[in-house]
């Protein structure tokens, strides 16, 4: 036991057993200690030392390569994708080797060279009656010294104060933002409130208006409301609500429900592109089957039946945007969507 690195157990141990009747299982004790190659053969120890050293040197090289590739490869406005690719690969590989070199070196050092004697430690007592009594006494002392039992007025007013204290937080957090229900219910497609001017359908991303005559059968247009590109603030939020897919199919293929007869124009129909499941853009249009497919969870909508869900997790049809043609032949939105676009939310059914 004189040399701590000789690998002999520091304590002759037995594995603690609790609540077991003796004789059921024999305590196997610890397995006999086997010395490692490096413990007995100085040449093996020397070799392990060299290996650890090399692993640390690999880490040093990795760090140097990282710095060199970060500073030497110049990514200016004229650099090519090749340069970016080379730098990406070098940065990734050199970081990996810099970290792995240190990690594997330390582990190899610990495994091969540091003392590997087994130690067993008896489990301490889980619960002692003495500690328990001390804790009970602390609580009793507090009750006694504060006199809370003897002075009920103090106790009751304290309870009242604690109950009321969180209320200001409710008021403050409740006013943190505008009512989301209102925002989700309206899009840029609503006609101008003052002039009544209806919003034209324009091409995404150019923002040029679309003539009804330009929409040939089988066409699919990705549409944004007129004026979206002029917004300086909240452009993406507005776009996320108002994007629309415009398609034309043979009018006799469309099954139009009562009340929606004037929502399309000669087989041209416009539907919200935001999936009613979790809001992915539904834009995969198959012009022969007239299916609209959402790429996220494969919800499929049947365009001929007002975008009823025919497959997948979506629970409601895509909202239709009522459209008509203005005096110059351009497509305009008759009104806003008649229901909130996109996924369900708590207040959706209550306006």
């Amino acid at each position: 036991m004189g040399n701590p690195s000789d690998g002999a157990p520091q304590q002759g141990g037995t594995v603690a057993t609790a609540g077991q009747a003796g004789g059921q299982f024999e305590d196997p004790g610890l397995p006999p200690h086997r010395p490692r190659l490096a413990d007995t053969d100085p040449r093996a120890a020397k070799r392990a030392e060299r290996q650890v050293t090399w692993l640390f040197i690999i880490s040093v090289i990795g760090t140097i390569v990282f710095l060199v590739s970060y500073f030497a490869i110049d990514l200016g406005p004229t650099s090519t994708v090749d340069a970016i690719r080379t730098q990406n690969i070098l940065l990734g590989l050199s970081t990996a080797f810099a970290m792995l070199g240190i990690g594997t070196g330390i582990v190899h050092w610990a495994k091969a060279l540091m003392p590997d004697h087994e130690v067993s430690e008896a489990r301490h007592e889980l619960r002692s009656e003495k500690d328990r009594e001390a804790a009970v006494k602390i609580v009793d002392d507090i009750i006694e010294e504060t006199g809370i039992k003897r002075r009920p007025l103090i106790r009751n007013t304290l309870i009242g104060a604690l109950a009321l204290a969180p209320l200001p937080a409710l008021a403050v957090f409740g006013d943190l933002g505008p009512n989301a229900n209102d925002k989700l219910r309206h899009t840029m497609w609503a006609p101008n409130a003052q002039t009544g001017k209806k919003v034209r359908l324009t091409r995404d991303p150019d923002g040029t208006p679309i003539k009804a005559a330009d929409v040939t059968i089988g066409s699919a247009y990705h549409v944004i409301p007129e004026g979206l590109n002029d917004l300086h603030e909240g452009k993406l939020n507005e776009k996320a609500k108002s994007v629309v897919l415009l398609m034309r199919l043979n009018p006799q293929d469309l099954h139009v429900s009562p009340g929606r007869e004037n929502w399309g124009y000669n087989g041209i129909v416009a539907y919200s592109k935001i999936c009613t499941h979790v809001g992915c853009p539904v834009a995969l249009y198959e012009q022969q089957t007239h299916h609209l497919l959402c790429p996220c969870h494969q919800s499929t909508f049947d365009l001929t039946n007002e975008c009823q869900v025919i497959f997948g997790p979506a629970s409601r049809p895509l909202p239709q945007l009522p459209i008509e043609v203005d005096s110059e032949g351009y497509l305009v939105a008759t009104s806003d969507f008649h229901e909130p676009v996109g996924p369900s939310y708590w207040e959706r059914e209550y306006s």
Partner: protein, 261 residues
């Protein structure tokens, strides 16, 4: 002349002769192909139409009908235009191998001349999109604008890296790698099978040229991050991480807990 004949046995004479021969062949080939291109730009002749009709009756009429007016097994081709024929026949999708969710790309069944004659015949049946203007196929457009148009109009089906993607019930949008500029243009123009039509009123010819430029640019540049694993996103990348990443973690765990000899 005497000087030349003396140099005839010079050791480099063979090399010089070879270089001259190659240059001459190359020059002739260049002249011949540009002459062909010039011919393709002109309209179809009457003989093209009649040859095309013969080919049509022999190869296509079973499904599309004798006058290309369509039948129960195939749509009418009146008014689909030369561009549709050049795309469908030129990529081998037509004649169709078998009925299925969609006609797939395969080795072409007709050579360039025959495709051209078929296109001439179908174009003669009714007005439709004609073959694209060669100037729009040069790949010299604005790749940035093309990328924007591609992400808005094409990426949802064809994938942001143009690697293709799945549609419903066995149909799919094919990968655009290696598709010629002319076929990409014609596909946008005519909307083959379940692809919507992107007519010139929707995406202008210049816009189409930009999209083609963008596609050629990303194909030429490759992926900035090294191996792109097919550009399919979470499917191939996830598989790689589950197999290789977890494999490495397991290997390290075994090494960490093992005893050194």
């Amino acid at each position: 002349m005497k000087a030349l004949s003396q140099k005839r046995r010079h050791p480099l004479a063979v090399v010089a002769l070879l270089v001259m021969g190659l240059l001459l062949t190359g020059l002739l080939y260049a002249v011949a192909t540009s002459a062909n291109k010039a011919k393709a730009d002109t309209g179809f002749s009457a003989s093209d139409v009649s040859e095309g009709q013969k080919l049509f009756v022999a190869n296509c009429a079973t499904c599309h009908g004798m006058g290309a007016q369509g039948s129960a097994s195939g749509p009418s081709l009146v008014g689909v235009g030369a561009a549709a024929v050049d795309f469908q026949v030129g990529t081998g999708r037509m004649p169709m191998q078998m009925q299925g969710p969609q006609a797939q790309r395969k080795p072409e069944q007709f050579n360039e001349d025959q495709t051209r004659q078929l296109a001439a015949y179908v174009a003669s049946l009714g007005a439709g999109p004609s073959l694209p203007d060669q100037a729009m196929l040069d790949g010299q457009g604005d790749a940035t604008h093309g990328g924007e148009l591609f992400r808005v109009n094409c990426a949802m089906c064809h994938n942001a890296a143009a690697a293709g993607g799945a549609l419903t019930r066995g149909k799919f949008a094919p990968s655009l790698a290696g598709v010629s500029a002319q076929h990409i243009y014609e596909a946008m123009e005519t909307g083959p099978q379940n692809m919507p039509v992107f007519s010139d009123a929707n995406i202008s010819p210049e816009g189409k040229r930009d999209i083609i430029t963008y596609l050629q640019t990303i194909e030429k540049q490759g992926s900035p991050g090294g191996a792109d694993l097919g550009g399919l996103g979470p499917v191939s990348e996830g598989l790689f991480m589950w197999v290789a990443g977890l494999g490495i973690i397991i290997a390290f765990t075994i090494w960490l807990t093992s005893r050194t000899s």
